[in-house]
Symmetry: C2
Subunit: 433 residues, 2 copies
Amino acid sequence: MSTPAAEELLPPKLSRRWHYAREQAISFLMQQAVENPDVISLAAGLVDSETLPVAETRAAVQKVLEDHGSGKMALQYGTTAGSERLRRLLLAHFGQLEGCDPHDLGVDAGQLVVTTGSQQLLSLVCEILLDPGDICLVAGPTYFVFVGNLNGVGAEIVTIPSDDDGMQTGALEAALQQLEAEGRLDRVKLIYAVSYYDNPSGRSLSTERRQQIVDIAHRWSKHHRLFVLEDAAYRELRYDGETLPSVWSFDETRQTVIYTQTFSKSYSPGLRIGFGVLPRDLVKPVCDRKGNEDFGSANFNQHILATVLESGLYDSHVEQVCAAYRIKRDAMLAAADRWFADLPGVSWVHPHGGLYVWMSLPPQIQTGFKSELFRRAVEEGVMYVPGELCYASPLDERPRSEMRLSYGVQPPEGIEEGMRRLSVAVRSMLVSR
Amino acid sequence: MSTPAAEELLPPKLSRRWHYAREQAISFLMQQAVENPDVISLAAGLVDSETLPVAETRAAVQKVLEDHGSGKMALQYGTTAGSERLRRLLLAHFGQLEGCDPHDLGVDAGQLVVTTGSQQLLSLVCEILLDPGDICLVAGPTYFVFVGNLNGVGAEIVTIPSDDDGMQTGALEAALQQLEAEGRLDRVKLIYAVSYYDNPSGRSLSTERRQQIVDIAHRWSKHHRLFVLEDAAYRELRYDGETLPSVWSFDETRQTVIYTQTFSKSYSPGLRIGFGVLPRDLVKPVCDRKGNEDFGSANFNQHILATVLESGLYDSHVEQVCAAYRIKRDAMLAAADRWFADLPGVSWVHPHGGLYVWMSLPPQIQTGFKSELFRRAVEEGVMYVPGELCYASPLDERPRSEMRLSYGVQPPEGIEEGMRRLSVAVRSMLVSR
């Protein structure tokens, strides 16, 4: 037969799953950044380049590869769940964060799974737990990539309002009552919470609410176990304020909270290492699924991180990173005071850690990609993440006048200048009305 | 409320998808290996530890991290599709394998996607293409992890018999006719072929059949485009015999064959880097899905591999690796001659590359995990992969008397001894009947 011309070919027929997941706001943002290279991005969630651990990683790799035996071990396949050595060190590290001897944690290294960033753990949990139409409860606003994961498996998302103490537990309880009244409680599988210095809002769940969320999950496990997915991605980026216990720590059963954390923010995103602490009966399902996806994240990187943790280089690096981000957070808050304090109806969150300042504008100023403000901001040379992207509710029910501002990438001068430019755009919207 | 006791908790309700994917033979094999540490494994598909590129990787990392600028770039987030620099080098490398100037390949670096091993690419293709009940045609035997991927998305698998020239194209054509007659052609989405030194059979598709498979995909694209997924994982592990053109090279449209390869076999599985060369209209779907799963494989490793490719260290390493495997393949074939030649009804494939020898026993000797032979083999101190795991058809329709024997991990002496032990077990089965 003769080969068909490329334009004669029929189109592919893609899966429903792909259709669920096809709209990703992040693509538009990255395209904007590429097309506008002179723009100061307060949008990107990347980490500060200056503090990346080049010397630490060099030392660790040197150590891993200087011995031919350990070098070969690091360059060979690992296992799906991750390197034993790293998992033991992660357990010790987790114990340290929990203020607890690893032997008293009530979990063992076999319940830790190493993933390609904590993102993969979030994705795996959705895959093994959620059928189309199953329900996950999330805070509004919430981490927008996770909304993509939920959409990707066809889950239904119920948004729980949040305030300065995070997800409102009264509203969470009410939502579950409502779902039960509708006869849909059997579809509820998961409560998702970014527990420390939330992406996007910068807020943390209060201690009291941490306990309450666990209690609610236990109490509402009427048809099957209702899990809490605690995303502690920013836990170690703490600059001041109290040291909060994890949501996980309140789950005395150890069978209800799925805990996940990443080294992307506190060490290096280029290594792409995250981990999950799993209730015992989710270990095999998660590993089965991960076996299908990639049968193990890069083993080499796991040996590097293990060496970094073992050597103490990690702890000192986290101190440095926090010192650098503290300065940048202060720079953003100072710039906000300087440029926005006199604007009526503008307010923002003062985070104690993490990478984000959440700013609210008067309701008449929309902030979306297609808004006049976004256009003016890009024209002034600054970019932010529209707050409406961080909600899962129907567009007309979302707050439309919020912005996520990141101080992760820019140096203090860039933060100052970016905030000044943003204030020019916002001011022009206030004046022109 | 009081916390429930762990044993009072209701069980989780997992997703249908997890149920699709929950049985993974690899787990049993790994468990056997752990429980029987003195056993010589001819089962493991790991690569030869002795040839792992410790010095090459050390040199590359040194180069990546010696400069603070390039070091920071490697330790920062990358993009979902992979590092631009690596993708350009991969295009050049792919051109080299195709014997073609990269500019004349008819694809650009934007159509290359870097993944966590080629395994992730295989998984992503299933995710974006296959709904439950959609059909994929595979050779029998075929790569058993991919069967897990197909099961994982609820796909139906149609097995096409194969011979020394790989998947039989006459049978492929007949199967499509049959599916059309059943009114199910609209569910057929994909033809999967391990084109070089197949895992598990060690055989390659003949040149003629490569062309025919592409023609068949074009001709049978009646409802939507029918894709061919060419898994070229072992392409560079060629020890002798002719250099075969890829299936991809026969697809003049460049829109029908999805090509994937990995550096796990030819360089290091610990880096976990594979890539796909995608038809243009699959790039966004694959990246959307990958964005959800992990938004990018480890950037650090991509910079290392780029440096290895750029420096020429890669080509010389592949030569070394092939020289080492050639010796081990010869050792296994010589041992097969020595220990099995006089056994009636025993035959095996002579591979020109890859990691596997496929051995067939008389039909009365079953080889499965629960077979007497498997038990006796472990008792003798040797392990293999039962051939029946490499078929997707119902168990009673599968050949039950085949074995996949790998010369990847063992040194020549271990191969010799493993084959001797295996022959003792097989001989005992022949005698005892």
